[in-house]
Structure formats: structure tokens, C-alpha cells
């Protein structure tokens, strides 16, 4: 079971807190919007949840998936 982070691109306004809290999995593009670079390994699950909870726009979501999703 892996977890995947997803950004709601309409809700996201580019605060960038998520990339501060989870630089291992989130980087910002040149305009300050997050790019998810991979699925969440078990060791980072707690950090991922913290990043989700910290998003002021409620734009970051964590979902559990049974199979590996390809990230874009």
C-alpha cells in the first residue's frame, strides 16, 4: 500500500508551504506552484500528512492506492 499526493490545481494558489515541509517529494516550479516528484514512501507518511494539513488552500490531498501510480 502506497500513498500518493495530489494537488487540486484550481484550489492551489502557490503558497508553497508544502515544498518547505516536504522538499523530498515536492518542488516548486518557476511560478511557485508545486510539482509532486514521487509517491510517498512509508517513512515520509507523517511528513506528507503534515504538509497536507498545513496547506492554507486545502489544495493538497493524500490518497492511498493499492497499486503504484505513475506520477506526472
Amino acid at each position: 500500500m502506497t500513498s500518493t499526493l495530489r494537488v487540486d490545481p484550481i484550489a492551489c494558489v502557490g503558497h508553497g508551504l508544502c515544498a518547505d515541509l516536504l522538499p523530498e517529494l515536492i518542488e516548486l516550479d518557476e511560478w511557485g506552484y508545486p510539482i509532486i516528484t514521487g509517491s510517498v514512501p512509508p517513512g515520509l507518511a507523517a511528513h506528507a500528512r503534515r504538509a497536507v494539513n498545513a496547506c492554507p488552500a486545502l489544495a493538497l490531498r493524500l490518497s492511498r492506492t493499492t497499486q503504484q501510480l505513475t506520477t506526472r
Binding site: 487540486d8 490545481p9 484550481i10 502557490g14 516550479d29 511557485g32 506552484y33 506526472r72
Partner: protein, 443 residues
């Protein structure tokens, strides 16, 4: 009235090539309900659950795919909605927001009853209790024509499922499925971030079938003549006919019905491709540029164009005039697409103007730094990051321009204009870009 030689049992089936367009040459106006019935026969009865299931099976067996651009199997879509519980809703998409495409407008202007038949049949097949036809607000003549046709049907006692005609704000992204649903639910005609998909929970939270108007017109013919007849035209994996819009450097621009799977070169020849045209934009402003030589033998199908990085989209072919600069045309289209963003997602709001600037510098051969390298980097940072496919389409068009006009791009990036641009044709606007619909009006 002309009912001299009327004999319903002997109505000939439409030819293999002129199906949707049967009779268009003779009649420069919408076919009346009488004329329509004489041409195609009456609307087949939709008796009971069995009749409805039968149409679902026929459409699936016919191999009909969506003609709005995505090319999804229509039978699968119909069944997904039919299998949901509770009354469904049907939405007919006649927005045709692709600026170069004219086929849906032509279809509604010449054969409105074919579309309305398709709406009635598909609605019955999926168990929809209401239907909505979505049109662009800028084309008021369309609404008049469709409303007149609906009045004819009402007078004739057709119309088990009520059809509402709507005029939506005419932005590029307003024809997106989720935009239609959002607008019909009282919101703005802008894409939303799915899920749920409309077939699960769409208009008023009901299972919602959304189909392009040409797709529905094909359904009307499949219901009459069957899946076997439908497959008599077209190629394996690409059955039936399709409407295409051919424009640009051709002698007779217009809408052509062709067998699905026809070669790109044959379709261009049909419209009289002008000598010297070396590139074609396939799929419209959301499509991809190609070297004509490289694609002329390929079929205009998703599978046929995939190796060349293209897709038929809504069947638009635009031949680049010999004297034009492809980079300048691509830059103008990209600027237009950037302006047509729904202004919702950061990578689209900021990314598209950024690459439009880059490509603009390249087209003008006034590079600031290295626009080519910037473009390649930014393409990767924009694609796939919007709620809808708008940024992806814009990136695909721009990236294909750099591939197809690679030599010109190289020259322009060093401050040297290509021959087309040198002739001063970069501002002749070979490919028209529409004036934007009232900015910020989404309701």
C-alpha cells in the same frame, strides 16, 4: 407539399460517403422535418427496455467513437451511463470552440433533425428524462434554427424527452465536459477538477451522458441502418464516416465528410491543396504541426497519427500557406490559447503566457537569451498540471511547431529570419484567430 413518390419502405440508404451530409449540396438551408424523414426514414421506435438495450449493442458493435476530439468509444460511454441508477441526463455538446472547426456548425445548420434524432435516441437508450443542447452564445443564428426544428418536432408529436437549448459563454475551455456540467448546474462555464466524472454525478448530481452533436447524428443513422451498415464505411478500428474541416492553403476550404481512416493527403487533395504548402496543423489549434510529406500517407485516426505525435482531434486540417512562417503562425495561436485559459490553475495562468512570450521572441527572431532552451524546459513544467487539458494542448501545439519548423527555429534563434518571415508574411495572419469572447464572462 412534395409527397409524390413517397414510399417509406423504399427509402434508399445513404451512400458510403455522404451520410450525415446527404443532400447538403441540393439544399442550402436546414432540412425540414419532412425532408429529413424523406431522406432517412422516420425515427425508429424505441420500444421498451429491449429496444433501448438493442441500440446500446448496435452503437457498441458499430465501433462509433466520439467525434468531439477525444475519440472515446461511444458505446462504452452510453453503457456506463445506462448502468447507473436513477434517471440520467443527456448533454449534447455543440459548442465547437475550436476556432478552425466548422463541422458542428455546418451539421446543425443543414441537418438539425439528425442531431435531434440522435439526442432522442441516446436519451431513451440511457434512460435520460431530459436533454440539453449546449451552443455558443456568439452564434445566435444557430439557436434560431434549432428552436425552429424543435417546434416542428413538437408539432409532429415527436419529443418524448424534453430538449432545452442553451447559449453558453464562448471561451475555448467552455466546451470542456466539466465546464458544461458546471454551467448547467448554475456555475461558471469553466472546467472543474474531477472526480466525480459526469457519467457518475453530473447535471444535478444525476448520471450524465455528454456527447458531441456529430456523434449523436451518427447514432441516429446507426439506429436506422444498423452496426453492419455503419462499418461498411471506414477502416478497421476506425469505422464509419467523419466530418472534417479543411482550411488554410486549399482552393476549396470547407467541411468534408470522409471515410474514417482516410489518408491525410487524400483529404487535403479533396479540398485542393495548394502547391508549395509544406506543413499542416492537424487537430486544430489544440493539435500538432506536421510536415505534409511525412503524414500524407497516414490515416487521419488516433492510431494512425500517434507515431507522428499527432491526433485527429475534431477532424481539422489546416494547410500552411507556402509563403507563411510557421513559427509566426504557431506563436499567434499560442498567444490566443494563453488568453483562453480559464485562469484557474497556476501552471496554465503563468506558464502559457511565458511560453507564448518565448515563442513570440523566436518568431520575431529577436531572442532574449535562449528561448528554445527555455521553451523545452517549460513544456515539461506545464504539461499535465492543469485541472483540464488546456495547458497540455497548448504545449503540444507549440512543441510540434518547434519539431516541424526546426530549421526555421534554429535560424530565428540566432536572429536570422526564415524565408517566409523575411518576405514579411509573419503578420499576414494566415490562420485566423478569433476575437476573444467578453473577458471574464463565464456565466
Amino acid at each position: 407539399m412534395m409527397q409524390a413518390d413517397r414510399d417509406d419502405a423504399r427509402i434508399p440508404r445513404p451512400s458510403q460517403l455522404h451520410r450525415l451530409t446527404a443532400g447538403w449540396q441540393l439544399l442550402n438551408r436546414p432540412a425540414t422535418l419532412d425532408e429529413h424523414v424523406r431522406r432517412f426514414g422516420p425515427l425508429p421506435p424505441q420500444h421498451g427496455r429491449r429496444g433501448r438495450r438493442d441500440l446500446l449493442d448496435q452503437v457498441a458493435a458499430a465501433g462509433l467513437t466520439g467525434r468531439g476530439g477525444a475519440g472515446f468509444p461511444t458505446g462504452t460511454k452510453l453503457r456506463a451511463v445506462a448502468d447507473r441508477r436513477g434517471p440520467a441526463v443527456l448533454v449534447a455538446n455543440g459548442m465547437e470552440s475550436e476556432p478552425a472547426s466548422e463541422k458542428d456548425q455546418a451539421l446543425l445548420a443543414r441537418a438539425p433533425h439528425l442531431v435531434l434524432d440522435g439526442i432522442a435516441l441516446a436519451a431513451a437508450a440511457v434512460g435520460a428524462s431530459e436533454a440539453h443542447l449546449c451552443l455558443a452564445r456568439t452564434r445566435d443564428w444557430q439557436q434560431d434554427g434549432v428552436l425552429a426544428a424543435l417546434a416542428e418536432r413538437q408539432a409532429a408529436g415527436l419529443g418524448a424527452v424534453p430538449v432545452s437549448v442553451h447559449d453558453l459563454p464562448h471561451h475555448y475551455v467552455s466546451s470542456e465536459e466539466t465546464s458544461l456540467v458546471h454551467w448547467l448546474n448554475g456555475g461558471e462555464a469553466r472546467p472543474t477538477f474531477t472526480p466525480p466524472r459526469p457519467f457518475e454525478r453530473g447535471v444535478r448530481k444525476r448520471p450524465t451522458l455528454i456527447d458531441n452533436v456529430e456523434t449523436l447524428a451518427h447514432v441516429a443513422l446507426i439506429a436506422r441502418y444498423g452496426a453492419g451498415w455503419f462499418r461498411e464505411s471506414g477502416a478497421a478500428g476506425a469505422s464509419g464516416t467523419m466530418l472534417t474541416t479543411v482550411t488554410g492553403a486549399v482552393d476549396q476550404p470547407g467541411v468534408y465528410e470522409v471515410e474514417n481512416g482516410s489518408r491525410v493527403g487524400d483529404i487535403l487533395a479533396l479540398a485542393g491543396l495548394q502547391g508549395g504548402s509544406a506543413a499542416v496543423l492537424i487537430g486544430g489549434y489544440f493539435g500538432a504541426w506536421h510536415d505534409i510529406e511525412a503524414v500524407s500517407r497516414l490515416p487521419l485516426t488516433a492510431a494512425g497519427l500517434r507515431p507522428a505525435g499527432g491526433s485527429p482531434g475534431a477532424g481539422v486540417l489546416i494547410a500552411l500557406p507556402a509563403e507563411a512562417c510557421g513559427l509566426a503562425e504557431a506563436a499567434r495561436i499560442l498567444r490566443y490559447l494563453a488568453g483562453q485559459s480559464a485562469q484557474q490553475c497556476g501552471p496554465c495562468v503563468f506558464g502559457l503566457p511565458a511560453i507564448a512570450d518565448d515563442l513570440g521572441q523566436l518568431a520575431a527572431a529577436r531572442p532574449d537569451g535562449d528561448p528554445l532552451a527555455r521553451l523545452q524546459r517549460r513544456f515539461g513544467a506545464i504539461s499535465g498540471r492543469g485541472a483540464c487539458r488546456h495547458p497540455d494542448g497548448a504545449v503540444r501545439m507549440a512543441a510540434s511547431a518547434l519539431r516541424t519548423f526546426a530549421a526555421d527555429a534554429h535560424a530565428h534563434s540566432r536572429g536570422r529570419l526564415c524565408p517566409g518571415a523575411r518576405r514579411g508574411h509573419q503578420h499576414t495572419a494566415a490562420l485566423p484567430v478569433p476575437r476573444p469572447f467578453a473577458e471574464g464572462v463565464w456565466r
